[in-house]
């Protein structure tokens, strides 16, 4: 019988620690264990045999670290031999029932965006090992000791795409129940169930005693069989400096017996667990009853670190990352100004959003590419789960594949064509999908017909194994200005979804008031009515005070805000404002000099009563900034002061800009800045950006790791006179040189200014830059020279 047939019907016992056994047999620190498959085959067979004789049902191949990064020359041989040794051990012990598991650990590299291994490369790296292992005859794949949910997803996808074997995965939690990159038991279970893993669980981490609470948390949310393979207690160091674990085999076995009674299905060991630990565990557990996992009915979306459950209380989905009707946002998309988009995300997170909707659809841009890029960058700074909002199935697949977590998907509808395109993707990658209650005949004007479509969506999804819990029906808010009964139809739809379908619902709430004056009044009240009718998810602008007031009041009134924590933290007399060093009425000049943003804003407001905006800029703002800039150049002011002054000036500009009723500030000129290809360090570049913007330049920020072609193309398209390039490392100065060369060739009238940690005047001259700036102020001075015609 195979793994799947036996799983949950009988106890299955995985083997124990490979590394600790091999070390006791002479494996040196730093020696790659998998080389023993070739140089000491008899020992690897012995290792496998030991666990089979102890009674284990599944033995791992000695391939934990086997990948092309560590074995560029002989990976196939390493993997094939490992499987052959396991087979040999099975033959020698006569354990024909035993299963061989292809063992896969982390790659040892951190994935993008914080590391430099791309997701696609990570999938490839795993795929290669999986193909060799499957070909050599493994029975099951185990992905283990995973510390990062993104790498975990890459490995599972590789297994699903390159093998038909059952796939299991176990992860590592620290003493706080978190993975190294922030994942929790809840977020990991949702991610892995979305990918249809066969069994999941915890390995390594700590001893059985310490991981028990995390096992319990997993069981609470998982409908999938659970694997538990802990270490032999906590690591200790003996007098010789050798590591050992603080539990003996009997202690370990008796703790494992406790864990066995929690409704888990596969047990084994990790670091420090020799065959003795396993044989004792098996002895204590094998006759205990075993129960299949209890089916849970939870709708969960996740990011790399957070899990948001839909259902217990209404969830706020921020709608602001969307170009529709937003001029500035459209421009940012065209310019590739991702930072603008990220700021929109951060604002919504601060305002209280639980999930962010991400829509980057514009006719003139490459949506799949932009969607993936925006999503990745968002995930480098924001931990909220994302809702991928696109009507392009190619963009949707690219996004679902590269998303770190289990995404929300906006949307599918009752049209056959839509369901045929979207459901296979949800089936493959997991996700919670928004189902719009409309179909080929359009949007029904009544609840009964919307519910009919909702049922059709549930039914069709069922064919793909997508459960109703992973579908959220959009009850469709249509403006009351064109049909006065439309709100009633929508609310009734919500009520039926909750009471009769026992499902979840979603609305783009503010659609209800199109065409009416004072829309926030209608929106906020409709929002309350919708929540009362069962609304599970609200797509709104979380920065809208009126909407958030409705939301927090509803939670407080419905007993969903324990101790009124959320309400009080938003509206109670929160902590007193931090003590300011100076009285509030300080001149604008002084506020900027001292870097006090709040004061700068207030002082500007006051001055506007008597002065013109431009006058204020010329008489106070610029001179103050200049004094600070000069102080920085002289060495009497240091970097944080310079930046705080810049921020205070920015706050003043914002007030003046408002007063000029959107009349744009006159810009001195356009400048491109970028960190060059191969370099992912961009704080220096970002500092320069802040300063240039304050001095009135329109900055096109192309980000980091930017190829020369992109910089040159943008310079041509936007006819930019000055390009600023940053590089941190000597190794990437080469890319700087390439960029300058290409620029001189294709757009010779554009000047370049370079900077960065390793840059010197000499270097700058050698690579043909027009200016070397040692800091942000020098870049500003050079720009003034270029654009001031001096």
């Amino acid at each position: 019988m195979g793994f799947k047939e036996r799983l949950t019907k009988e106890w299955l016992f995985w083997d124990g620690g490979t590394g600790s056994v091999l070390q006791s047999w002479g494996l040196q620190a730093g020696e790659l264990p998998e080389t023993w498959n070739i140089i000491h085959p008899e020992k690897i067979i012995e290792l496998n045999k030991g666990y089979l004789e102890a009674g284990c049902d599944i033995i791992n191949t000695n391939t934990f670290g086997a990948n092309r990064l560590k074995y560029p020359d002989n990976l196939e041989e390493i993997v094939t031999k490992a499987v052959e040794h396991a087979k040999k051990a099975r033959e020698l012990t006569g354990r024909t029932d035993a299963l061989i598991s292809l063992d896969l650990g982390p790659t040892g590299k951190l994935l993008e965006p914080l590391g430099d291994l791309s997701f696609d490369d990570a999938v490839d790296i795993y795929a290669e090992v999986i193909e060799y292992g499957t070909k050599a005859g493994a029975d099951v794949i185990l992905i283990e000791t995973m510390q990062d949910s993104y790498e975990l997803k890459a490995a599972v996808l590789a297994a699903k795409e390159h093998s038909d074997l059952p796939v299991c995965a176990t992860v590592v939690f620290d003493e706080k129940g978190k993975m190294l990159t922030g994942g929790t038991p809840e977020s990991v279970v949702a991610l892995l169930e979305g990918l249809h893993i066969d069994a999941l669980g915890i390995n390594c981490s700590l001893g059985p005693t310490q991981i028990k609470p995390f096992v319990e948390r997993m069981i609470k949310v998982s409908s999938t069989p659970i694997i538990v393979t802990p270490n032999a207690g906590l690591p200790q160091t003996d007098d010789e400096g050798h590591t050992y674990y603080d539990m003996n085999a009997d202690e370990f076995a008796s703790e494992m017996k406790e864990i066995a009674s929690l409704n888990v299905h596969v047990l084994g060991g990790c670091c420090g667990t020799t065959p003795e630990y396993l044989s004792k565990t098996i002895e204590l557990v094998k006759d205990l009853p075993i129960e299949p996992p209890v089916k849970k009915n939870m709708s969960v979306v996740t990011s790399f670190s957070q899990a948001v459950e839909i259902g217990p209380k209404p969830v706020i989905i921020g709608e602001r990352i969307n170009p529709t009707g937003k001029k500035k946002f459209k421009q940012a998309l065209r310019d590739g100004d991702i930072n603008y988009i990220l700021s929109e995300g951060l604002k919504q997170e601060d305002a209280g959003a639980h999930i962010l909707d991400v829509n980057v659809g514009l006719p003139e841009i490459d949506e799949p590419k932009m969607m993936v890029e925006v999503m990745k960058k968002l995930q480098s700074v924001i931990a909220l789960p994302l809702q991928i909002d696109t009507s392009d199935p190619i963009a949707l697949e690219a996004a679902l594949r590269h998303y770190n977590g289990k995404a929300m998907i906006n949307s599918v509808n009752g049209k056959q064509e839509s369901m045929d395109a979207v459901f296979p993707l949800v089936q493959k990658y997991g996700g919670v999908v928004v189902g719009l209650a409309l179909d080929e005949d359009g949007i029904p004007d009544n609840a009964a017909d919307r519910i009919r479509i909702a049922k059709k969506i549930y039914k069709e999804a069922g064919k793909y194994g997508i459960e109703p819990k992973d579908i959220v029906i959009d009850g469709l808010a249509m403006t009351i200005s064109s049909d006065p009964t439309s709100a009633i139809a929508t609310l009734e739809t919500l009520r039926i979804i909750r009471d009769e379908l026992h499902g979840h619902s979603i609305l783009g709430v503010s659609n209800i008031s199109f065409g009416l004056p004072q829309r926030p009044i209608v929106n906020a009240n409709f929002f309350t009515m919708a929540m009362q009718s069962g609304l599970s998810c609200a797509i709104i602008n979380p920065s809208s005070e009126a909407m958030m007031k409705s939301y927090r009041a509803y939670l407080a009134l419905s007993g969903l805000d324990t101790n009124f924590t959320e309400y009080i933290s938003a509206y109670g007399n929160s902590a007193p404002a931090p003590v300011k060093s100076e009285a509030v009425d300080m001149s604008l000049y002084e506020s900027i000099k001292r870097g006090m943003s709040e004061n700068a804003g207030k002082a500007t407001q006051k001055q506007l009563e008597t002065k013109e905006g431009l006058e204020i800029i010329n008489e106070e703002l610029i001179p103050a900034l200049d004094e600070v800039g000069k102080g920085f150049e002289k060495g009497t002011i240091f970097l944080p002061q310079l930046l705080m002054s810049a921020e205070a000036a920015k706050a003043a500009f914002a007030v003046i800009k408002d007063s000029m009723a959107g009349k744009p500030r006159e810009m001195k000129g356009k400048i491109i800045i970028a960190t060059v290809k191969g370099d992912i360090h961009d704080i220096g570049k970002n500092i320069v950006k802040v300063m240039l913007e304050n001095y009135g330049y329109d900055v096109i920020d192309l980000g980091k790791d930017v190829p020369p072609e992109q910089i040159v193309d943008t310079a041509i398209q936007e006819d930019v006179k000055l390009v600023g390039l940053s590089a941190l490392m000597t190794t990437t100065v080469v890319s700087m040189e390439d960029t300058i060369k290409l620029l001189k060739e294709k757009k010779p009238d554009t000047l370049t200014v370079v900077g960065g940690a390793v840059m010197t005047q000499e270097y700058a001259d050698r690579i043909g830059a027009d200016c070397y700036a040692k800091d942000a102020m020098e870049t500003v001075r050079f720009a003034d020279k270029v654009f001031g015609g001096e």
Binding site: G30, G108, L114, L346, Q641, L643
Partner: protein, 215 residues
């Protein structure tokens, strides 16, 4: 909680004697950033002890073979070393990235305070090892990192392999820099000869960097 040295953080920010004016705002910002950092950081470290041999200007530690006059000098009289790696975690990197988008002045303060924090954490662990060593009548040399002087950054790969640094979440970029960015690897020499109290100045470092500190 790791005790962050505020003076150090200011020094990393470029603070010098010549700086004029009221620092109240900077100090408020620094206090705030330190508070957030304390909540964000997850300090972890790994230490392993190895015998060391130095012959013909070749230093051997485990299976790592090193040619570095500066390190050789540092390890004079040592019979063993600790290989050491520490980090304050990836969330600090994320914090810095996101603050670059919202408030650049705070972002540079996080950079500096984060650097001071990982140093302070290394000092803490170092001190524990020191106490431990004293019990066995052993003494520790100042820690020495790949990239200092003529000790090649390439040895980061050896650290990765020998210490399995990925277990505490440290990995290497193609450039051999570490992520999380606030991470440190070091070799700490162990000797039977009593050591003078280590000052934290840079007198023995050949690099002439702008942060050079001579007390």
């Amino acid at each position: 909680m790791i005790d962050i040295n505020r003076k150090e953080a200011l020094r990393y920010l470029g603070y010098r004697q010549s700086i004029e004016g009221d620092l109240t705002e900077i100090n408020n910002a620094l206090n705030h950033c330190i508070e957030v950092l304390q909540k964000t950081a997850v300090p972890r470290h790994i230490v392993k002890r190895f015998p060391v041999s130095i012959e013909n200007h070749t230093i051997t530690i485990g299976d790592m073979v090193i040619h570095s006059r500066n390190l050789e000098n540092n390890l004079k009289g040592c019979h063993a070393v600790y290989l050491f790696a520490a980090t304050i975690g990836i969330e600090v990197d994320r914090l810095i990235k996101r603050t670059e988008l919202t408030k650049m002045s705070d972002a540079v303060i996080y950079q500096a305070a984060g650097a001071a924090m990982i140093e302070a954490y290394c000092d803490e662990v170092n001190e524990e090892l020191n106490q431990e060593a004293h019990k066995n009548n052993e003494f520790l040399k100042p820690r020495f990192s790949p990239g200092y002087g003529d000790l090649a950054l390439d040895h980061q790969k050896d650290f990765m392999r020998i210490l399995k640094m990925d277990k505490i979440g440290i990995s290497l970029l193609e450039s051999l820099l570490m992520v999380p960015s606030k991470s440190v690897t070091a070799i700490i020499g162990i000797t039977h000869h009593a050591q003078p109290r280590h000052t934290k100045d840079c007198a023995n470092c050949p690099a002439q960097c702008e942060f050079r500190r001579v007390e």
